[in-house]
């Protein structure tokens, strides 16, 4: 017994199996976590080696080169880049996507172990970091206070950070910008010199004096007592009266030589939120925890946390990464539902009967729900990719059911009982339905095998559509016949659509049928004209290829702009602060779309790697700007970003700036794309000169913003040069002298003050007044072991100089990267223009200039896509050839492909969308969708010919009778894509090109296919018949001769 026969004969079993699938699917759905993208393991690792005291060039030669050479042997390595700075070498290794990073890190470790002996002696062991998305913070909070900032840090730590840390899924929360308490002992060098006391001695004494020492235990009588010496300071004011030595018989107190301040740390990151001094709280999640879950939990705990705070502290959310996730998923869910609604309307329009429409519509939820089961079993989340896949599949799931139901209704109309009709009609179309499903699978299954970045995105798409379509086939072969047998009624003769509306629709559809048949007849009479016309249309559309722009990834508006502003190196904090206030005032008035501006400036005080990796200094300000939702404003982040660029350009003090709409949220189609030109070459001067020329080209190219060189400017420094001979004569060592210099300027942490369980640093350094000019450095007193003091100026000199920049490598060669952000212009166009200009350049020998950045990814992925396209075309051909048992018929059907691409180009051109990776994927999907129409058409024409009808009549009759199913399945697919192509809601921009290209391709190809494919078919078969006739004639001649 066939599967559909069993289904019809056992309706209870069939119904319950599908109810089971739905329940299990809904259960899976409730368990799915929500995320923006499928799990991506970042393909980067880096190796950091410190070699204290070495210059950038030393580091490059002795460490970076050594390690790079050996590290390049690690398997699956794609690119190796490095930065050699003073003291530090940082090598970054990029691997192919999908590489197992745990194995890679092990490989790197063993390579480093081998290299350990070849590194200079003073170098520390190299450290390996594995990058992962887990490191990205999930929530940024800011805390403002109108009261004393003194206690802010402590309050935040106790009342906010600690409770948040206890929440499940939170890995760490770091407080930044909150002034930390510090006890400062600011010595007066003139006084210490007079008393012959050094800062080091003071620090050591404080350390000695601030101690609790257990002294053992004593038995007294019947009990044992422990003995303790309690010497710890109870409060900072005690330091004032601490005796640090004696001079001429009198005690010298600490207060005599230094000012003691119980205050805040000197150099900290200053965070301002909406112009007010605040502290930032950066919360990271544990690896594997779900962003939305974690943030939801934190938000749930927030009211309680806020209630526990003093009334003057306000906590605000600056950036909630889960919000964009939730919005995107929400709008995509709407898209899916809307697509479902459109599909239902089409079905209702064509079938005109409630019962029949209901049967078809039921196949939608049953098939879609299967995708949730797959997602749960594989441990995936509900993300943009999986939801978009649903939206793509929704128009196709009804196709099989429509074909089956249509045949069942035909049988019933011819007088069969619904039960018999269900079985036998399904039997008739089962093979054709399976074949057309297989062509779709032939397109989507290869997507699961794509490698690289695209692979991560399309793996889920491939699996989900394959699964949904397979399930929809199962539904069409079991549930649809079963329901038809139960629900469809036999119609008495003459009793047809009685409803007025349905009758009107029927009239229209009949008219279309007749019109199409007439068109087809005319086309068959003028075959050559039709074919030349078709070829001309296709050729003309190829011309559009020159006009349509190419891009890598569509840009998306996530409501965030990151701005970094750089003042000349060495600018003082006060200046930076002034500028910050100015920019804030300007922007908060100019851009009403902005909800929060958080700025941070000054040196980093972050203890976590995330903060330490970003550049910091007194001359840098970085902004995180949050805007209202993209649907609530007219200007996009890209437009606002560009206006901000103009504002910054107008400020002469700014050395350079970078505006990144969308934030640097790790590529993946978020925000804008970058343009990069690598200037590779060993000679620093030549390279720098070339890079300068490249920068000028980029600056003059339309559509590139924020052009910058990766090699930083030389920064000013004061270099202390000791004369070794003089040092030795004075009994001093270089290291000893250098430490003294460091202690005077940077300070030395003497001890810790313990108060209420908290510890605060006690720092000894020269008073700020004595750290303002070069003379102050020269006047530093150095003491040798005999206690004899020498001024620094006697044993050395202080020279003003510039420190050399960092040296960067790409694939083991020196490089200067010239980078820019792209604004409102297609990547392909810019590349073309820049390449043209670069050719004109007179580049010195040994220097090489290459365009890189997003362009490189684009080239790679586009090449991947074309391979995929070829593979998909071949697979669909195989499936069709097997179905028709012919090599010629699938070849004829394949003629609808060029017109699909014609449609894609036209649609992209009209909407002004550029050909991106996503649009290309849409074009590939078209292969499967478009040939489906051809299959239905040719299959029926073949059938007619087998029934002995002449070719011309077979073609016209076949076309006329298959027009409705073709139009219906096409319209469901097109309308299913419409919500996606309209791009409503957050994050939908990414998939818009796919919707546009599918709609365009499918529309054009269907219209042309309906005329051209039958014409080509007739031409091919007519020749075939002439051949047979010729053979026959020849045989006649032979017979006659004989």
């Amino acid at each position: 017994m066939k599967i559909y026969e069993i289904a019809v004969k056992k309706p209870v079993t069939t119904a319950l199996i599908f109810i089971g699938i739905i329940i299990f699917g809904l259960f899976s759905f409730s368990r799915l976590s929500v995320d923006l993208y499928p799990d991506i393991e970042l393909n980067m690792a880096s190796v950091m080696t410190t070699y204290p005291g070495a210059s950038a060039a030393d580091i490059e030669l002795n460490i970076t080169k050594n390690l790079e050479t050996s590290l390049s042997t690690v398997t699956d390595l794609k690119e190796i880049t490095s930065t050699s700075k003073d003291n530090v070498s940082l090598i970054t290794l990029e691997f192919e996507y999908g590489t197992n990073m745990d194995e890679v890190v092990n490989d790197i470790r063993s390579v480093l172990d081998m290299q350990r002996n070849n590194l200079p002696e003073g170098a520390e062991s190299p450290v390996v970091f594995k990058f992962s998305t887990e490191m990205m913070p999930v929530l940024f909070l800011s805390a403002r206070t109108s009261g004393s900032p003194q206690n802010l840090y402590k309050i935040l730590e106790e009342k906010v950070a600690n409770p948040i840390n206890r929440i499940k899924g939170v890995a760490a929360s770091n407080i930044g910008g909150a002034p930390e308490r510090e006890i400062q002992i600011l010595t007066d060098p003139r006084k210490t010199d007079a008393y012959k006391i050094t800062d080091e001695q003071i620090a050591a004494l404080i350390g000695m004096d601030n101690r609790n020492i257990p002294a053992g235990s004593m038995d007294i009588g019947t009990e044992t007592y422990s003995v303790r010496v309690e010497g710890e300071l109870e409060e900072s004011s005690q330091l004032e009266s601490m005796v640090i030595g004696s001079y001429m018989g009198r005690n010298v107190l600490l207060g005599d030589v230094a000012t003691i301040k119980d205050t805040l740390k000197e150099r900290v990151t200053e965070v301002k939120t909406n112009g007010l001094r605040s502290a930032s709280l950066v919360i990271q999640k544990q690896s594997g925890a779900n962003v939305v879950d974690v943030v939801n939990r934190i938000n749930k705990a927030m009211p309680e946390i806020k209630a526990s705070l003093p009334p003057d502290i306000q906590i605000e959310t600056v950036l909630d990464t889960s919000e964009f996730v939730k919005d995107s998923i929400g709008s995509l869910t709407e898209t899916v539902l809307l697509a479902g609604l459109f599909v239902m309307l089409v079905v209702l329009f064509f079938l005109g009967r409630w019962r029949a429409s209901l049967i078809i519509i039921l196949s939608i939820p049953v098939s879609l729900v299967a995708a949730f089961i797959y997602l749960m079993i594989t441990g995936n989340s509900l993300n943009i990719i999986s939801l978009s896949s649903l939206s793509i599949a929704i128009g196709m799931v009804v196709d099989d059911a429509i074909v089956v139901l249509e045949n069942i209704t035909t049988h019933i109309e011819r007088g069969s009982k619904p039960r018999d009709a269900a079985i036998y009609a399904t039997n008739e179309v089962a093979v054709a339905v399976m074949a057309s499903t297989l062509t779709i699978i032939a397109v989507f299954f290869p997507l699961t095998m794509v490698s690289g970045l695209a692979g991560i995105m399309f793996k889920q798409l491939g699996w989900i559509v394959t699964i949904i379509i397979s399930v929809s086939l199962l539904v069409a072969l079991t549930l649809t016949p079963m329901l038809s047998a139960r629900m469809l009624k036999q119609q008495k003769k003459g009793e047809k659509r009685t409803n007025k509306i349905t009758a009107a629709i029927e009239k229209i559809l009949d008219a279309i049928d007749v019109f199409y048949a007439k068109m087809l007849e005319r086309a068959l009479r003028h075959r050559t004209r039709v074919l030349t016309g078709a070829i001309l249309i296709f050729a003309a559309s190829l011309l559009l290829l020159g006009i349509v722009k190419t891009d890598f990834f569509p840009e998306s508006d996530n409501g965030t702009i990151n701005v970094s502003v750089e003042l000349p190196v060495g600018t003082r904090m006060e200046q930076t602060r002034k500028l910050n206030d100015l920019i804030y005032k300007d922007w908060s008035v100019k851009y009403p779309e902005v909800t929060t501006i958080q700025s941070s400036m000054g040196p980093s005080d972050g203890s976590n790697i995330f903060m330490a990796m970003s550049a910091s200094g007194t001359h840098l300000i970085s902004y995180t700007i949050k805007l209202t939702k993209s649907s609530e404003r007219d200007r996009s982040i890209f437009e606002i970003g560009d206006l901000m660029r103009k504002d910054l350009e107008a400020i002469p003090e700014i050395y350079r700036f970078n505006v990144i709409p969308g934030g640097s949220g790790m590529g993946m189609g978020m925000g804008g794309s970058t343009f990069q030109v690598n200037v590779v070459g060993y000679d620093m001067q030549d390279a720098e000169m070339t890079a300068g020329m490249v920068r000028d080209i980029l600056k003059n190219t339309k559509g590139i913003r924020d052009v910058a060189l990766s090699r930083e400017d030389y920064s000013p420094q004061l270099q202390v040069v000791f004369n070794r001979e003089k040092l030795a004569m004075n009994g001093l060592t270089l290291a000893g002298a250098a430490t003294v210099v460091r202690n005077r300027i940077n300070g030395v942490t003497a001890s810790l003050l313990r108060e209420e369980g908290e510890e605060y640093d006690i720092v000894v350094r020269s008073d700020g007044k004595y750290r303002t000019e070069i003379e102050d450095v020269k006047n530093i007193m150095l003491y040798n072991s005999q206690g004899k003091g020498v001024r620094l100026s006697e044993v050395g000199n202080v020279v003003e100089s510039f420190s050399p920049p960092a040296i960067e490598h790409i694939d083991r060669e020196r490089v200067i990267k010239v980078t820019g952000n792209i604004y409102k212009r297609a990547l392909g166009d810019i590349t073309e223009e820049v390449n043209k200009e670069l050719k004109k350049l007179d580049i010195p020998p040994q220097i090489n200039v290459q365009v890189s950045g997003s362009v490189e990814d684009q080239k790679e992925s586009f090449a991947d896509m074309f391979t995929l396209l070829l593979l998909v075309v071949m697979l669909t051909y195989i499936v069709m050839a097997a179905q028709f048992e012919s090599l010629r018929d699938p070849f004829i059907i394949m003629f609808s492909l060029p017109f699909a691409f014609t449609g894609v180009f036209i649609a992209l051109w009209i909407t002004g969308t550029s050909l991106s990776l996503i649009a290309l994927i849409g074009a590939i999907m078209l292969v499967g969708i478009v040939v489906k129409n051809g299959i239905v058409l040719i299959d029926y024409i073949n059938l007619n010919i087998e029934r002995g009808i002449s070719i011309k009549r077979a073609v016209v009759l076949g076309g006329k009778s298959r027009l409705r199913p073709v139009l219906m399945t096409t319209l469901t697919t097109i309308l299913g894509m419409v919500p996606m192509a309209m791009g409503i809601g957050e994050g939908s921009e990414i998939w818009q090109p796919m919707g546009i290209s599918i709609i365009g391709g499918l529309t054009v190809s269907t219209i042309l296919t309906l005329i051209v494919i039958p014409t080509i078919y007739a031409s091919f078969h007519a020749r075939n018949i002439r051949k047979i006739r010729k053979k026959g004639r020849r045989r006649d001649i032979i017979i006659n001769k004989a």
């Binding site: 049988h411 011819r414 007088g415 069969s416 009982k417 039960r419 018999d420 009709a421 036998y424 039997n427 008739e428 003769k493 073949n942 059938l943 087998e946 029934r947």
Partner: protein, 97 residues
């Protein structure tokens, strides 16, 4: 006794069974999956791609008075769906064993 050979589109399967029961015809032999085409205008029933439908054949043996009743039922079925195809042929039959 009369033998009635009914050859019909397999989609009529249930209707024929109902008609036999209705007329109290007990004895019959049935072949599923038979092929054929009509003498004058009946479409072929081959179970192929071009002619996907198939026939069934039932040879029923009954008393003469039941025959007329059954033929009337069959005529009704055929009238309702002429295109499906239903033909009946009658022989005399002698029970031997």
């Amino acid at each position: 006794m009369k033998a009635l050979m009914i050859v019909y589109n397999q989609a009529h399967n249930l209707l024929i069974m109902e008609a036999l029961d209705k007329c109290n015809v007990r004895g019959f032999t049935k072949w599923e999956d038979v092929q054929g085409r009509g003498t004058f205008k009946g479409e072929p029933h081959y179970g192929t791609h071009a002619w996907p439908s198939k026939n069934m054949a039932t040879l029923a043996i009954m008393e003469e008075e039941k025959l007329q009743l059954l033929l009337k039922e069959l005529q009704k079925i055929n009238d309702e769906a002429e295109k499906q195809g239903l033909r009946a042929f009658v022989w005399d039959s002698q029970p031997v064993i």
